[in-house]
């Protein structure tokens, strides 16, 4: 028998794969100034409350991938405590993409809700 926790974890991971990009872009679009990884992770922690949707470590490769795609840009700045921090900021292309993604998400949400409710 397949362990239900493992199955749920796998489902959550697959779900996160696409959503993480949307969430990160949205957070950085709302932010008035560039944010570094830990700041973003803390903010998401506040949003998610007690439920933890994804490990904070999994956010960084997504940030890299968004930056690689030109949707984010980053700069490294020294910090008073510890290693230099990389600050991320959304680009104009990122903002345009986010609008499209938000549309896709709305449709997807509607579709999934309908499928779950069976209406």
């Amino acid at each position: 028998m397949v362990d239900s926790l493992t199955v749920t974890k796998k489902f959550q991971k697959e779900l996160n794969a696409g959503i993480a990009s949307l969430v990160l872009l949205s957070v950085l679009e709302k932010s008035t100034e560039p944010m570094y990884g830990y700041q973003i992770a803390k903010l998401l922690e506040d949003y998610s409350g007690d439920a933890s949707f994804m490990k904070q470590g999994a956010l960084y490769p997504v940030l890299h991938s968004l930056e690689n795609g030109g949707l984010l840009e980053s700069k490294v700045e020294p910090s008073v405590s510890g290693p230099p921090r990389r600050y991320y900021e959304i680009t104009a292309e990122g903002k345009e993409t986010l609008v499209v993604w938000q549309g896709v998400w709305k449709q997807m949400k509607l579709f999934v809700d309908k499928a779950i409710k069976g209406a």
């Binding site: 570094y36 990884g37 490990k55 960084y60 991938s65 990389r86």
Partner: protein
């Protein structure tokens, strides 16, 4: 229980074995930045909490080394550097040969070959100046901080060169600075840098880049000039023939007979196309060399 951030980073490095060296470097830098910030934040809020316990609660949220490694692995599989995207290789040899004009990697490599001249001269000057100043001043006490600054600048330049190589040649290179221990004294940091083969490979790269930069530049410019001359010569010859200069006996020695015009144009075009193909190959080889010398294992 993981006892220190260094231990976590070692475990993460083990988990990432077999991954792209550049990915490993990025993952370690991200983890170090995050864990240090999170730990400092947590200990500030709960100063009475033992550090080891606090660290493990931070790791719990960040993800175990295995979880983090798998997250990087998955995203890396989906993301390839801009220019390294798969190229349809199903086309015939001829189509691929002439299709070089539509290949961003060939243009990127060409641009890189021209830029390499400037960067090569700069790297060489920097390395020679830095090495000689560091060595000659090392008999004084202030020579050592100078040496440290120079070696740190080499690391910085290696990262910048990596970004250039990834952008123009499409070879995945580190996007983050190399992970270093933060609590080291400057003299220990100097020892660490001076005994790390990566630093010396980077300096070696700076010297090699000087020679290659000149060769790339001279070859590109020469082939470009010859190709353009071959293509332009029939037109120029025709224009000159009809010019008034000819009547005054100042012109023209006919260099090529009229029947050879198409051959000259074709020759120039083929020469440049061949060079573009060659540039693409050179770009790939250079990228591999850069990766070998600038990225740690």
């Amino acid at each position: 229980m993981i006892k220190s951030i260094e231990e976590y980073l070692d475990l993460l490095k083990n988990e990432l074995q077999g991954s792209d060296a550049a990915t490993v470097q990025d993952a370690l830098s991200d983890a170090e930045e995050h864990l240090r910030a999170a730990l400092a934040n947590l200990l500030e809020k709960q100063p009475e909490r033992p550090e080891e316990e606090a660290l493990n609660s931070v790791i719990e949220q960040y993800g175990s080394p295995a979880e983090t490694a798998s997250a990087y692995g998955e995203v890396e599989r989906r993301t390839v550097p801009q220019l390294a995207r798969a190229n349809p290789s199903t086309e015939s040899v001829i189509a691929r040969f002439f299709g070089v004009y539509a290949d961003a990697r060939a243009w990127g490599a060409l641009l890189y070959m021209l830029i390499a001249f400037v960067t090569g001269v700069f790297y060489f000057t920097w390395a020679v100046t830095g090495l000689s100043i560091s060595l000659s001043f090392s008999i004084f006490i202030f020579g050592l901080p100078l040496a440290l600054l120079f070696l740190l600048s080499v690391r910085g330049l290696a990262l910048l060169e990596g970004r250039l190589v990834e952008a123009l040649l499409g070879v995945r290179m580190p996007r983050r600075p190399l992970f270093t221990q933060q609590n080291l004294k400057w003299i220990d940091r100097l020892k660490e840098l001076a005994t790390d083969k990566h630093t010396w490979f980077s300096i070696l790269y700076m010297f090699i880049q000087f020679i290659l930069g000149i060769v790339y530049f001279v070859v590109s410019i020469t082939i470009f000039s010859v190709s353009v001359s071959l293509i332009a010569s029939p037109f120029l010859q025709e224009i000159m023939k009809q010019s008034s200069l000819m009547d005054q006996g100042l012109c023209c020695i006919v260099l090529a007979p009229t029947w050879s015009y198409p051959l000259l144009i074709l020759g120039g075009f083929l020469l440049w196309t061949t060079f573009m193909n060659l540039a693409r190959g050179i770009g790939q080889l250079h990228g591999r060399m850069a990766k070998g010398l600038l990225v740690t294992d």
